[in-house]
């Protein structure tokens, strides 16, 4: 089986929280197994 994991990290230069959205999906069994929205900034 082939899987794909997408990891998106957003680095913000503003004071507004931004979203970090991580998800991974199985190609043969398309389903979002994990997703979250986390304030993250540097």
């Amino acid at each position: 089986m082939q899987y794909t994991m997408n990891i998106n990290l957003v680095e913000s230069g503003s004071t507004q929280p931004v979203s970090e959205i991580n998800s991974y999906t199985a190609v043969d069994n398309f389903a979002t197994l994990g997703e979250e929205s986390v304030p993250y900034s540097i």
Partner: protein, 201 residues
Amino acid sequence: MNTVLTSTTRSSLVNAITGSGYSLSQPKYLSWGTGVSPALPTDVALGNPNGPSITGTVSTISTVTSGDTYFCTGTFTSSSILSVTEVGLFTSQSSPAVGSLSNQVNPTDTTITISGYSKFSTSFPFNVQVSSEVMTVLSGNGSNVFYVTRAANGSSKSTSIIPALTPVVAPSGNMFMKSTFSGMTLQSGDSMLFNIQIQFV
């Protein structure tokens, strides 16, 4: 899931902005593993790396504005049944040194007994990742004991016992980014494509 840029990365980016120079090599090497601790910015390695790293394909892409996103992609193929829980981006392709605790580590301990001693550098000091804590190895006895400083690199000392058999990992190069997630069970021959994007907004 938990994804972080490490403290080393953060300070290097600030150095780039202040003109102090960006000191890290390109983070294009991916490593995956089976560690159990959530990613922390103070981490220096994966909790339990699995096999050699791979060289990712790097590009600059435009998510919102031109060239705002670093993109690295690479595919691992499992050679055994594996529950993958972590992936990291590194500046070096060399494999980390990996041993394990022979005995449990108590919160007040400053020595650790390990198996796999010969896999580690004989040039001290160096940092090791032990669960969620980083320790600086100051010296060793030449066979199975490291003398350490606890809570290194800004990490927190474990307030509970770190059990025997916990991996001890000395990184090769710098870990740029680490992501941990719920275990993804792979069968032998399964492959996993990681698409890692770091977008600046």
